[in-house]
């Protein structure tokens, strides 16, 4: 892994809970609950340099794509920094972030089947973590 991306991952690791960083490390994306509240009923899948995907947490129904970017002097942040920027903004400025984003229906940029597979991977990963911690 190039040094810049490694550095960005270390900053992401320092900010996130261990479980969330582990999800990104293994799955390549995060899930961030809406309003910072796991009981809100919705969450966002956060990929590097791809739209945010809002989904219903109970059913997995895809709700919207929010295309947002963080550009500096025309350049692109490293992947992990892009993920961190989205996580930070969702934590502290969700409404503003969503209002700024270009809103599209599911499937506009990301293949909905791919996203659903990722949701299934996330569910499997969470279940395996639960089993691991129960076994200890």
């Amino acid at each position: 892994m190039e040094a810049v991306e490694h550095r960005a991952r270390e900053l992401l690791r320092a900010a996130l809970a261990a479980e969330d960083f582990d999800a990104y490390d293994r799955l390549g994306f995060l899930s961030v609950p809406g309003r910072g509240d796991p009981s809100s009923g919705y969450a966002y899948l956060v990929y590097p340099h791809r739209p945010l995907i809002a989904y219903e947490t109970r059913t997995g129904r895809l709700l919207s794509e929010y295309c947002v970017r963080f550009r500096d002097a025309g350049g692109r942040l490293p992947d992990a920094d892009d993920v961190l920027a989205k996580w930070l903004a969702l934590q502290g400025r969700e409404r503003e972030l969503i209002a700024t984003a270009n809103l599209n229906p599911p499937g506009h940029q990301l293949d909905p089947d791919h996203v659903r597979r990722d949701l299934a991977r996330l569910a499997e990963w969470r279940a395996s973590r639960h089993l691991d911690s129960a076994a200890r």
């Binding site: 810049v4 500096d72 920094d81 930070l88 903004a89 934590q91 502290g92 700024t100």
Partner: protein, 80 residues
């Protein structure tokens, strides 16, 4: 406390570092903080509360918790 900024091609860059309880350090931290906001950067402080990791956006150095480990500056969001 560290003030870092995410930069394309570089990852996070250290802008300033110091103890906000030391007057000289605090002055330097405030100056670096204000410069980033003047440049239009967003500022966030990752926090840990009740075992949960969260973040607060800040617009003034006075809003940064004194015991914060770092303040992260990054470009503002725009529609993609």
């Amino acid at each position: 406390m560290k003030l870092v900024r995410m930069r394309p091609g570089r990852g996070d860059v250290l802008l300033a570092e110091g103890d906000p309880d030391v007057a000289e350090d605090e002055e330097r931290l405030i100056e670096a903080f204000r410069r980033q906001l003047d440049l239009g950067m967003w500022a966030a402080v990752p926090t840990a509360q009740h075992g949960r990791r969260e973040a607060v956006m800040v617009r003034d150095f006075a809003e940064v918790p004194r015991d914060a480990e770092r303040v992260v500056f990054y470009p503002p969001a725009s529609g993609g």
